[in-house]
Symmetry: none
Subunit: 158 residues, 2 copies
């Protein structure tokens, strides 16, 4: 599970240290690295472990083969994504076109969002984080974990 927000350096060679917590999540045996693609919702990158792509694949394969949405997702995610493997120090080298797409230079911020993560220009994300906090506060009544009053272990999270 990807959690937390971490800002790391993008060096002159185009390398970024992937946060150690993130590295611990993506291990899947077959491929030691991350998969990253440009978001179709804004100037930032989306990414995850190879298993995330497999989940998307399973999801799309349940859609009609000639569904316009399915084809578009395949083109926007699979075709645009890059497989970035870790070097010995846990870094990946980010292709230039992805860095340009997301306006990355000097510093980049990894945003953990559970099953996936995003990569942002730090300043770009700061304004968004403030808005998200405000909207979350306005919607906080919706964050309700369903209760089971009569259960013998209601609330037990073990």
């Amino acid at each position: 599970m990807f959690l937390s927000r971490v800002t790391n350096a993008l060096d002159a060679k185009g390398r970024i240290s992937v946060p150690a917590d993130f590295r611990a999540v993506v291990g899947d045996g077959s491929f030691d690295g991350i998969v990253v693609w440009p978001s179709f919702d804004g100037a930032y990158l989306e990414g995850g472990g190879i298993s995330l792509l497999r989940d998307y694949q399973a999801l799309l394969e349940n859609m009609d083969p000639y569904d316009n949405g399915r084809i578009a997702f395949e083109r926007a995610i699979f075709a645009e994504s890059r497989r970035l493997s870790f070097d010995a120090g846990g870094r990946v080298s980010l292709p230039k076109e992805l860095a340009e797409y997301a306006n990355l230079n000097g510093q980049v911020t990894f945003i953990g969002l559970g099953r996936r993560f995003e990569i942002w220009n730090p300043e770009g994300y700061d304004v968004l984080a403030g808005e998200a906090r405000k909207v979350a506060r306005e919607n906080r009544h919706r964050l309700r974990l369903a209760g089971r009053i009569n259960s013998t272990n209601a609330g037990d999270v073990s």
Copy 2:
């Protein structure tokens, strides 16, 4: 289940002993520690076991992917939360930015709230505790356990 109010020391290295009662609750096999994030409702921290985050994830994944509330929750909780693992003595080290957010220094108070807990500056919480007692008294008629009157294990606090 997180219960009781406990005040522990925050040492010079940023470490806090998590109350032993709390530690006994969070064990989940995969991760031995707690997850903590800044509340979007005030100057204190919220936390729980990794399973609490999984419950939130399940809740959010049932919402529309581009629901504004969902995205805001993901950014306000997942992206802001930190995974804090226990050392041999049952302590975690609290990142500086979280300590600053909640005005923590010297002493911190853990507030058990059932499925989750909060971390407060002790003085900050004292005023709130008094108010909570008053509001609880005003709402006391609402504290009604519905359902099985003949439950064989009524009052079980496991």
